[in-house]
């Protein structure tokens, strides 16, 4: 959801401030969305590729995370999984399925609080 700007001469309302608070500190039931791109060298079959996705929200414990591969289907790697989920973000991992210099996948994620 796009944030709204406060205008000069107008009162700053609680809702103006809270849109920032609820971006940086999600309340229960809110979600954070984004995209990822994981690319790595697979020097051997089953080589691990991973990346850490920091969330914008801090100080709120997420209940779940879900990821897809809608931007780039896995190429030379397994379907990615999410792990190490906490208030700072989560990790995306995949393993190589071939010896290749270019294993990659990409998609969107949704963190639910």
């Amino acid at each position: 959801m796009a944030l709204t700007t406060a205008t000069t001469g107008s009162a700053i309302l609680a809702s103006d401030l809270n849109q920032l608070v609820y971006t940086l500190q999600k309340a229960t039931g809110m979600t954070e969305t984004g995209s990822y791109y994981l690319g790595f060298n697979s020097y051997v079959n089953n080589a691990l590729g991973s990346l850490y996705m920091p969330s914008l929200s801090r100080n709120s414990t997420p209940a779940s995370v879900s990821i897809d591969t809608s931007l780039q289907s896995p190429s030379n790697c397994s379907s990615p999984g999410a792990s190490n989920l906490n208030a700072n973000g989560f990790q995306i991992t995949a393993t190589g399925t071939a010896i290749t210099a270019n294993a990659h996948c990409a998609g969107n994620f949704v963190i639910t609080y």
């Binding site: 500190q25 100080n59 414990t61 209940a63 879900s66 897809d68 999410a82 792990s83 906490n86």
Partner: protein, 189 residues
């Protein structure tokens, strides 16, 4: 999407968050695809960091993972616990938001089934605690929404659970058993 329900028979249900998908997914908690995945075996604070992976959505193949291995710090955040205040604003106790309650319950179920080597930080509601008719009439996740914060606060030595619940209820006796929700099909009279 967080778990929406854990039925008495162990059926998990949730909704896929895939764009334009919204598929309702169900599976049993003993499904092999419900997997405990540890990426950090033991962090510096002594707790592992893990998720419970759910089966991918059959429609869009989106993968969902639930938070597992809650630490005390994870649980004390305000989006996990909701304070219950009295008329003059004093905090009488806390209730836990249901998505986190269900994550903890699923962790317990998988631990009891031998799929996770350790139990979560907070214990299950002991059977003898459910003697009060009001508690008996609540669903398991709602009863644990009261029990988990109580067990975290660790006031068992001073305040029995029923008295703690009475405090949340404004000092009044607990209500009689509540009627279970009747779900009717659309159009049914």
């Amino acid at each position: 999407m967080a778990l929406q329900q854990i039925s008495d028979t162990g059926i998990l249900s949730w909704v896929c968050t895939g764009e334009g998908c919204g598929n309702q997914i169900t599976t049993h908690y003993l499904d092999e695809r419900v997997a405990y995945q540890q990426s950090v075996k033991r962090a510096r604070d002594g707790f592992p960091r893990a998720v419970i992976a759910l089966p991918a959505c059959p429609e869009c193949e989106r993968q969902t993972a639930l938070h597992a291995d809650y630490t005390r710090r994870d649980i004390l955040r305000l989006n996990v616990l909701k304070p219950v205040v009295n008329d003059i604003g004093l905090v009488q106790g806390f209730v836990m938001h249901l998505p986190h309650v269900r994550n903890l319950l699923l962790h317990h179920l998988l631990h009891q089934a031998g799929r996770i080597p350790h139990a979560p930080l907070l214990p299950l509601l002991p059977e003898q605690r459910t003697l009060h008719p009001w508690l008996q009439s609540l669903s398991r996740d709602v009863a644990h929404a009261f029990w988990f914060p109580y067990s975290l606060i660790d006031i068992a030595a001073q305040v029995p659970f029923e008295e703690y619940l009475m405090g949340l209820h404004g000092g009044r006796p607990l209500p009689p058993a509540v009627e279970p929700l009747q779900v009717r099909a659309p159009g049914a009279s």
